[in-house]
């Protein structure tokens, strides 16, 4: 299944936040989205996932999702969005309920995704009892459990330390390529971490400051399974990306652009 | 200066004597500035007299009243209305369904359900008298306390109860419209002292002069009431005095404050219970009432009926020996 952003534009009241965004992502592909804070990245993901109606343009899908997929377009939310009254396990179970899965399959899926996110010991803890990074991992575990065709990830590793992040990125790489029995999946990956972007993405969309517009699309070539974080080539690409962004930053210092304010 | 006293009262025609005494200035003549405090239930009136919020009260006698008065704080000093043969009085209605099944007279009430307002109310007592007079046990009647007159009307109309005892101004329209059947009058069975004027025991000892003045004016009101509404012609029918319309209007002001005066006055005339012209109490009946209520377990055995009465303010109470 392919997910297609077709000239998407959006505004909140007088505040334009997205301007003419188009791209495609299919199985085995990762599109990373980087851009300044408040430029509309989360809004774009919501539109792609059908949670918000764009003011112009459309989010489209082409092709059928894999039969086993419980929820073809699956989010990892920036603010986690965990149910505080369910345990870690219960939060994951939420997305498995109502699909007629057997008890055994449900239990096995939960066991698997909690193990992958290092939460096995905290299966019965409530969100309130978790650290920030653990909450974020519950959000990831839940998304994995839904067997998505396209994952819409909003800064999914932002609260994690470098080593946990490494491990989870390895996991994501496997997922995307469809290692083992699983099918390959697509991923839209919003991040502010350029290292993550070059490590994971096939294409990196660099958005301008609000209203977010695609300033550049950077292609990262080569098998992502072969990439290593300390690969000098990747480090160089990340530095390049950074220069690109910094130029934009210098251009318009701070958020004093002449946009309509949201005030009043 | 005038002495201020307040009287707790319900908006009923049977308290008409009191209203007339106010309207005609009899209290003023005695140097009393009387304020009427209208209540929407009888119970709080007695309580307000006990607590000293009002000096006097006029209501019907109930088991509750006797229980309260029996504790020594209240004294009954004059009469209100009375059930008397040949005058307006409570009526017994059967529901249409029950009537069709044969409930056509009072002696057939045994085994039927009868709606009353409250446990220990006058209706309850009157049902007891009917049972006694017709030779069946009160226990054989299923009494349904319904709390309010609208509830009674609703119950008889929908056949929820077989019969009710109710005041004539409500009974007559029901019977007339065919929504219920009249099967008897309470006054055919018994005469009955409905209620009275009472004050706190403290008043009768500490402010005797005030009480005397009040009673005098009250009696005048009762006399006017009796003259206007209760006079009979030779054939025994009520013959209203020529000024009865004006008198009724005075009463109506208090009973139906919101209604058109002419219509209200007519209602007053049509619902005039018997009131003794000197506001004398039927003492023997009160003793009988209390005894019956005690026998039924509704009035505490320790209540001394005679101690409730202070007969010293009016001469010649009826059946006083």
């Amino acid at each position: 299944m392919q997910l297609i952003a077709d000239h998407i534009a959006h505004a909140y009241g007088p505040l334009p936040v997205l301007d003419d965004i188009s791209f495609t992502v299919g199985p085995g592909e990762v599109v990373a989205i980087v851009g300044p804070s408040g430029c509309g990245k989360s809004t774009l993901l919501r539109i792609l996932g059908g949670l918000e109606k764009p003011q112009a343009g459309r989010a489209l899908v082409a092709g059928a999702p894999p039969a086993a997929s419980l929820n073809p377009l699956t989010f990892v939310f920036q603010d986690f969005a965990l149910l505080p009254w369910r345990t870690v396990e219960g939060n994951v179970r939420l997305v498995l309920e109502g699909h007629g899965l057997s008890q055994a399959v449900v239990a096995e899926t939960i066991r698997d995704v909690l193990a992958r996110t290092g939460l096995t010991d905290f299966a019965r803890a409530y969100p309130k009892q978790l650290s920030g990074g653990m909450r974020q991992r519950v959000g990831i575990a839940r998304a994995l459990a839904a067997r998505p065709a396209v994952l819409l990830m909003d800064e999914p590793l932002s609260a994690l330390d470098a080593q946990t992040r490494e491990l989870l990125m390895d996991d994501l790489v496997e997922l995307v390529s469809g290692e083992g029995s699983a099918e390959a999946l697509g991923m839209v990956y919003v991040t502010h971490n350029l290292d993550e972007a070059v490590r994971l993405a096939d294409r990196i969309l660099v958005l301008s400051r609000r209203p977010g517009r695609v300033r550049e699309t950077v292609t990262v070539a080569g098998d992502r399974r072969a990439r290593r974080s300390d690969d000098p080539e990747l480090v160089r690409r990340a530095r390049e990306l950074w220069e690109l962004i910094r130029a934009d930053a210098a251009e318009a210092d701070r958020e004093l652009a002449d946009v309509e304010t949201i005030n009043g | 200066a005038q002495e201020k006293v307040t009287v707790g009262v319900l908006r009923f025609v049977s308290s008409g004597g009191l209203f007339l005494a106010v309207e005609k200035g009899y209290f003023k003549d005695e140097g009393l500035d009387v304020e009427l405090k209208f209540f929407e239930a009888a119970q709080p009136i007695a309580l307000a007299v006990v607590s000293g919020d009002t000096e006097f009260g006029v209501t019907a006698f109930t088991a509750g009243f006797y229980n309260l008065a029996g504790k020594g704080a209240l004294k009954v000093i004059a009469a209100q209305a009375r059930e008397k043969k040949g005058y307006e009085g409570n009526l017994v209605l059967a529901s249409n369904a029950a009537y069709e099944k044969g409930l056509t007279s009072l002696d057939k009430l045994s085994g039927k359900s009868v709606g009353i307002t409250q446990v220990g109310s006058s209706f309850h007592y009157q049902m007891g008298q009917i049972a006694a007079a017709n030779g069946f046990a009160l226990k054989s009647v299923e009494l349904k306390p319904l709390q309010s007159l609208p509830n009674m009307v609703a119950s008889i109309k929908s056949g929820q109860v077989d019969a009710i005892i109710i005041a004539p101004h409500l009974a007559k329209p029901l019977a007339a419209s065919g929504e219920a059947k009249l099967i008897g009058r309470v006054s055919d069975v018994t005469e009955y002292q409905f209620g009275g004027l009472f004050t706190s025991t403290k008043m009768t000892t500490d402010k005797r002069a005030t009480v005397e003045k009040f009673v005098r004016a009250y009696q005048k009101g009762a006399e006017d009431y009796a003259k206007a509404f209760l006079a009979k012609d030779a054939s025994g029918n009520i013959a209203h005095a020529p000024d009865s319309d004006a008198t009724a209007a005075l009463v109506a002001k208090h009973v139906y404050p919101s209604e058109e005066p002419a219509q209200a006055a007519a209602k007053v005339k049509g619902a005039a219970f018997f009131v003794d012209e000197k506001a004398r109490l039927d003492v023997a009946d009160i003793l009988t009432q209390v005894q019956w209520l005690k026998d039924e377990g509704l009035v505490d055995a320790s209540v001394d009926a005679k101690a409730i009465l202070d007969l010293s303010f009016i001469d010649g109470h009826i059946n006083a020996n």
């Binding site: 077709d6 791209f23 495609t24 059908g50 949670l51 082409a62 550049e216 690109l244 | 209208f38 009307v153």
Partner: protein, 274 residues
């Protein structure tokens, strides 16, 4: 930097279909007019019920008759008298009961010292019918205005206490911790964090308590009241004047709508952030 493309829009294939919108958040809208229409429908239903005889005309007159009665009462000035008497009692009683209820509810929600005894006493005293306590009310407050105001104050106090402490319990404690961390005084934390956080629940409690206050006008005006909508309804019941009785009911109902409208407006203003 290589491979820059400005439009990756794919060729539209027959297979393309829009992503299903699934953003419905169950955020219902309020339409004043629809609310009004519902009231009209209720009155029409009532008219139908009396036209088709589902309600006995003696017990329940038609809307027309009731409106007539209302009109007469309005013209004679009687309505204004009753309404103003009741409004004073209601406002006084609800002001006392509501304020005390919020204060006590806050105390139960905030202090271990108050919580157990407070919540227990509320649970024990709330279910006591006011009518059963009328004798004591007469004894303590007399038969003047104070016993009437007290009846309403007592009746609104308890639901406000429960709603308030429920709402306080539900305030996110991480915000309280934030306030502490900035050295806010306990008073500032209570007034700036806990109270606004509990406000939705408190306003919901006020809707309930104000309605209860209106219902209690009847009980309050049982005691020596000549004026007041409750007294009028009671008197009309005793005198079997069902048109006046229902006119009184209509007035109480309009009163309830007004109070609910005011609370709704306050809610709209204070909870705009949701």
């Amino acid at each position: 930097m290589a491979d820059v493309a400005h439009d990756l829009r794919p060729a539209a294939t027959a297979d393309n279909r829009p992503v299903t919108f699934r953003g419905g958040l169950f955020l219902p809208r309020t339409h004043r007019l629809v609310g009004f229409a519902a009231l009209v429908a209720l009155i029409l239903l009532w008219q139908a019920a009396s036209s088709f005889g589902w309600m006995s005309p003696v017990l329940a007159p038609s809307p027309g008759e009731v409106i007539d009665a209302l009109k007469r009462m309005a013209l004679s000035g009687e309505l204004a008298t009753h309404l103003s008497a009741s409004l004073v009692r209601l406002a006084g009683g609800f002001a006392i009961g509501g304020t005390a209820g919020i204060a006590f509810g806050m105390a139960i929600g905030l202090s271990s010292l108050v919580r157990s005894p407070g919540a227990t006493l509320v649970a024990a005293l709330f279910p006591i019918p006011k009518i059963a306590l009328l004798p004591l009310f007469i004894l303590w407050f007399g038969i003047g205005e104070s016993s009437k105001v007290a009846t309403i104050a007592f009746g609104t106090f308890f639901p406000m206490v429960i709603a308030t402490y429920g709402a306080v319990d539900n305030v996110d404690r991480s915000l309280v911790r934030m306030g502490r961390s900035f050295g806010l005084s306990s008073f500032a934390i209570i007034s700036k964090i806990i109270l606004p956080g509990a406000l939705p629940g408190i306003l919901s409690g006020m809707r309930i308590a104000s309605s209860i206050g209106i219902v209690l006008l009847i009980a309050a005006e049982m005691i020596g009241a000549n004026e007041g909508v409750g007294a009028m309804v009671l008197a009309a019941g005793n005198l079997m004047q069902s048109d006046r009785l229902l006119a009184g009911v209509v007035v109480l109902s309009l009163l309830g709508l007004t109070v609910a409208g005011v609370i709704g407006a306050v809610e709209k203003r204070l909870l705009a952030w949701r």
